[in-house]
């Protein structure tokens, strides 16, 4: 049975990776998961300088999901390279570093430092482009085009993945734009901006008022967006959003995802990633599938004329 998949030049032993921000810097889960078993490890988003993040409460549970507004708290590039990366390098698993910035210059500076050190860069483009009035890179075609193009020219070794936001009015078009600019893959979907209110105190549940919704509640939205994007790009799609089980992962793969990322599920079940890998194997045996690639985009449908 072959579970190997490729993103650009990068080979993954299986299609299951972690979603940025839900697996710390790897060490936090190494007691529960054999990190060598993962397809790839995506670490918490890194900025050039350390960030404090938002005030608490930062998380709130909603039906079949959770809101978070961590505010991109992270140790910053320097400490990531000196304190976090050496541990991750001990494993035979590609390391993908999610990066974020307020300006194109900040992204480029991060890319220059990380390029020789890591296997792939995942651009978090849901940040505001401060120089362009704070509009998000994820929703503004021009900002996104410029960012992805310049990052592409900067990276010599690392694979380039762009993490797309479901806020974009047409996510498939944004994916195509990334492909045209030379991205090796797109990952989708980031969390969905959402809100909850305590009706007794009449105050928002999160200190930041708005947070990102993740978990099983968003899975059908993610599956739909992956399916639509699969129709319009040739580069691999990393599907994510509410994957809790192997069944969920297979659903994303059938919709068109080459890889899947497990996020919120890690909080609920710290060994979710390895259980999902095993579950995919069981499904393949049950359905006599030799190569995982046979499943990618394998959803069967017909449109009937009335």
């Amino acid at each position: 049975m072959n579970l190997e998949v490729k993103i650009g030049r990068l080979s993954l032993k299986n299609p299951v990776m972690t979603a940025s921000g839900t697996f710390g810097y790897g060490a936090e889960y190494s007691e529960f998961v054999d990190l060598n078993a993962l397809g790839a490890l995506v670490v918490k988003g890194i900025s050039l300088e350390p960030r404090q993040g938002n005030p608490t409460p930062r998380i709130y549970e909603t039906p079949c999901g959770m809101l978070n507004s961590i505010g991109l708290q992270n140790v910053g590039l320097r400490r990531f390279l000196s304190e976090k990366l050496p541990f991750l390098r001990k494993f035979n698993t590609p390391v993908i570093v999610n990066i974020l910035g307020d300006s194109i210059e900040e992204y480029l500076s991060l890319c220059q430092s990380l390029d020789p050190e890591v296997d792939a860069i995942e651009l978090n483009v849901s940040c505001p482009n401060v120089k362009k009035g704070g509009i998000s890179f994820a929703t503004d075609r021009e900002s996104l085009k410029e960012l992805v193009g310049k990052v592409r020219d900067t990276l010599k070794k690392a694979i380039l993945i762009v993490k797309l936001s479901p806020v974009a009015s047409n996510i498939a078009e944004m994916a195509r734009l990334c492909e045209q600019q030379g991205a090796d893959a797109v990952s989708m979907i980031n969390t969905i901006p959402a809100m909850a209110i305590d009706i007794e105190t009449r105050r928002p549940r999160l200190a930041n008022i708005i947070g990102g919704l993740s978990g099983p509640a968003i899975k059908p939205i993610g599956v739909r967006m992956v399916w639509q994007t699969y129709q319009s790009v040739k580069i691999p799609i990393i599907g994510m959003g509410g994957i809790m089980t192997a069944e969920d992962a297979i659903e994303y793969i059938l919709a068109g995802a080459t890889c899947v990322a497990v996020g919120t599920a890690n909080f609920v079940n710290p060994s979710a990633t390895v259980e999902i890998i095993q579950g995919i194997k069981d499904y393949m045996i049950r359905n006599k599938i030799e190569n995982i690639k046979e499943l990618i985009g394998g959803v069967v449908w017909e449109i009937r004329d009335r």
Partner: protein, 253 residues
């Protein structure tokens, strides 16, 4: 042996309406907790409620773990409805608990309301120490628990906001008096209470330059330091309640 374990719910005792004592027996050998550490319990295998819920370990032995919980929301309600014999999925012991009580005659333990769940095991392990002082406060006598079990402690000061049991005072007022009564500030305070009380106790201890350890509560998801949901702002940056806490020493705050 990792900290992800399965345990049988051996006993579920209703202490009072809305308050349960759960006795769990892990199926396999498990890492023993220390006082003030906590566990994450998965309320259900369904996805609603989704996240695990954090609970201080109330008491423990070689074979069991006990949790004292208040039914407050969806998660605790689901856990409260589980029948004895159910298998529970838990992660722990997590976080940093209380240090050992080295000088009981110079130690004051302060519990506010459900804070007793976190300090009970400290009290119980030092119950023979005649010098230990325990201050236990709540709004009314209906929110005070396990008084018989901790009555044997050297010096127990019970207080209620409404005066329905013990002194009519807050735990904070009783603590300040206990501090003033002593000629020395060579004192160690172990505290767990609701957020505002913890904050007030912290300010008091700083004012009197007294050493102390306070257990804090914050909404959390992963419990292992990954999600950064449960942070607490300190002079040296954001600290994770689940990992650097839940017990923080006063000089860190």
């Amino acid at each position: 042996m990792n900290r992800h374990l399965v345990a049988t719910l051996k006993e579920k005792i209703q202490i009072r309406e809305g308050y349960l004592l759960l006795k769990l027996e892990p199926l396999n050998d498990f890492i023993k907790p220390g006082p003030g550490q906590f566990y994450l319990i998965r309320p259900s295998e369904s996805f609603d409620p989704l996240l695990r819920r954090p609970f201080s370990v109330f008491d423990f032995s070689e074979r069991d773990l006990e949790f004292f919980i208040q039914i407050k929301g969806k998660g605790t309600k689901t856990i409260g409805q589980l029948a004895a014999g159910t298998m529970l999925d838990l992660i722990g012991p997590l976080g940093r608990g209380f240090p050992p009580v080295n000088e009981p005659e110079n130690t004051v333990i302060v519990a506010g309301g459900m804070g007793i769940a976190s300090v009970y095991s400290v009290i119980k392990r030092n119950i023979e120490n005649r010098g230990l002082t325990v201050i236990y406060g709540a709004r009314t006598k209906e929110q005070l628990f396990f008084l018989e079990e901790i009555n044997a402690v050297g010096n127990l000061i019970v207080c209620t906001d409404d005066g329905s049991l013990g002194r009519k005072a807050t735990a904070l007022e009783a603590l300040e008096e206990a501090i003033k009564e002593r000629s020395t500030n060579q004192l160690y305070v172990f505290c767990c209470g609701p957020g505002p009380m913890n904050k007030a106790v912290l300010d008091l201890l700083k004012r009197y330059s007294i050493k102390g350890y306070i257990s804090f509560e914050e909404r959390m998801a992963c419990g292992v330091g990954a999600c950064l949901g449960c942070v607490k702002e300190t002079p040296s940056g954001m600290k994770r309640v689940c990992t650097e806490g839940p017990v923080f020493s006063v000089d860190e705050l």
